[in-house]
């Protein structure tokens, strides 16, 4: 059994959050640059230019990329031969989250659902983090992190179709969700699509799909083809950067698929804004 110190996890999480607050990941930056070059609308082209200038300023001056520094979302794969020494893994991730948000001057955006009171003085600065755990073979911990903003989360949708809806039904549904969203989720967006499983499995898969690097190819050729088809359809909608009209509404579509019940076809669409702040670390 390998032991990992609690403090090491806290520091690793803290560092990921500080990094993502100000440094746009290279895959996102490259995808935006390509989108700016290909965009046909001068208004949208200027918006993407501002987004890239913003990324340069944020990186050079260590200022948050966006004032919506998100809720902290983690996917954690825990090797069965690992033990955390000095505390619980969940507590270490939350502690690292709190430190990172404070150290990088990020906004605490968590609140109670009804009173809307900010929770920073009650349970901690931007806590609790949203953590999805999975148990795997081995003696390592793999932590994927993304900052998830509210504007893009608000347009995300899920629905359980009858199996007859098929691929075509899924493609039309994703188009419908993105069309309705317009400029609200801060395009050019990344679209995560979770297919199959149960209702909640589809939702979690659509979230996890957003953690994949933009520009990476889906290893499943059938899904890769479907991603390309949906991306093409979305970019025909004309929404453009920040909804101002244009040809680059989405940078990428990522699909994760799971086996599902013979009676159901669950589909979830989770949207990420152009500031796709994500990274991962293996300890």
């Amino acid at each position: 059994m390998r032991e990992i110190a609690y403090e090491d996890v806290v520091k690793a999480v803290r560092d990921m959050i500080v990094y993502c607050g100000t440094d746009l990941p290279q895959d996102t930056y490259d995808a935006l640059k390509k989108a700016m070059e290909e965009e046909k609308s001068p208004v949208s082209k200027e918006v993407i230019r501002q987004i890239l200038e913003n990324a340069d300023i944020a990186k050079d001056e260590k200022r948050p990329l966006c004032q919506d520094t998100g809720l902290a979302v983690f996917f954690v794969k825990v090797g069965e031969d690992v033990k955390i020494k000095g505390g619980l893994l969940k507590d270490a991730i939350n502690e690292g989250t709190e430190q990172g948000y404070k150290d990088a001057y990020l906004r605490a955006s968590t609140c109670e659902p009804f009173s809307r009171a900010n929770l920073k003085d009650k349970i901690g600065y931007n806590l609790p983090a949203i953590i999805h755990f999975d148990l795997v073979e081995g003696d390592k911990i793999d932590i994927e992190y993304a900052a998830k903003g509210g504007g893009s989360e608000n347009v995300s949708r899920a629905r359980v179709f009858a199996p007859a809806a098929g691929k075509e039904g899924i493609i039309n549904y994703v188009k419908e969700v993105i069309s309705e969203a317009g400029g609200n989720p801060c395009p050019p967006i990344t679209v995560g699509v979770g297919i199959g499983g149960t209702f909640e499995k589809a939702c979690i898969s659509s979230k996890h799909a957003l953690f994949r690097d933009i520009g990476s190819v889906n290893p499943d050729p059938e899904l890769a083809e479907m991603e390309a088809k949906i991306l093409e359809e979305i970019n025909k909608l004309g929404i453009g950067a920040m909804g101002m009209g244009g040809t680059k509404t989405a940078l990428a579509v990522h699909i994760e698929s799971n086996p599902c019940h013979i009676a159901s076809l669950p589909v979830s669409v989770n949207v990420q804004c152009h500031s796709s702040r994500h990274t991962h670390i293996t300890i």
Partner: protein, 185 residues
């Protein structure tokens, strides 16, 4: 599409010449308010009470900034999604406010109020909080400090870049832009 440089407070003369798609560099004093602050401001107006600032010709920025780093007036400060303010904005315009800065589409009542009261809905680039925060040269909380990022701030802006989304003539850049680039099969 024209480019303008305007200084607040805005007048009807300023706003009527603007067309959807025009770009504007804003200068002067503007006020920040989001959901919770709007609720309180509109309640004051409806009771006939004074606002914590002069509403005539004012521009309201829908933003909840990050905490400032030591020595800075404000942190990152990009626009939040505007539809959440749709139920309040017509009242703000009715009582003399002339501009709003946010992101995302507005409902018909807001667009109609822009026509009726010579108001403009400006879009700023969402997610460009570092760039936009640097255009803010001073910031001071003037009301509702207990709301934290949602408190009302009086801020001074220098060449703050915005695009006209809804103008005083009923035009909507989101509709126009999308129609222009939509590909129908």
């Amino acid at each position: 599409m024209a480019q303008y440089t305007l200084t607040t407070p805005l007048t009807s003369e300023d706003t009527k010449k603007l067309k959807a798609g025009d770009t504007v560099l804003l200068n002067g004093t503007i006020y920040t308010a989001r959901d919770a602050a709007h609720k309180r401001l509109v309640e004051l107006l409806e009771k006939g009470e004074e606002l914590p600032f002069d509403i005539e010709g004012s521009v309201i920025y829908f933003v909840g900034p990050t905490p400032p780093k030591p020595g800075d007036p404000i942190g990152s400060a990009g626009p939040t999604t505007s539809y959440r303010m749709d139920s309040y904005s017509p009242t703000m315009l009715k009582y003399g406010s002339k501009g709003m800065i946010g992101k995302g589409k507005r409902n018909q009542a807001v667009k109609d109020a822009c026509v009726e009261y010579d108001g403009i809905y400006f879009g700023a680039t969402g997610g460009a909080g570092a760039l936009l925060g640097k255009k803010i040269t001073s910031a001071e909380v003037i009301a509702y400090p207990e709301l934290g990022p949602e408190a009302v701030r009086k801020i001074t802006v220098k060449d703050f870049p915005v695009t006209v989304i809804n103008d005083t003539h009923g035009n909507d850049l989101y509709q126009m832009g999308r129609e222009q680039y939509e590909v129908k099969d």
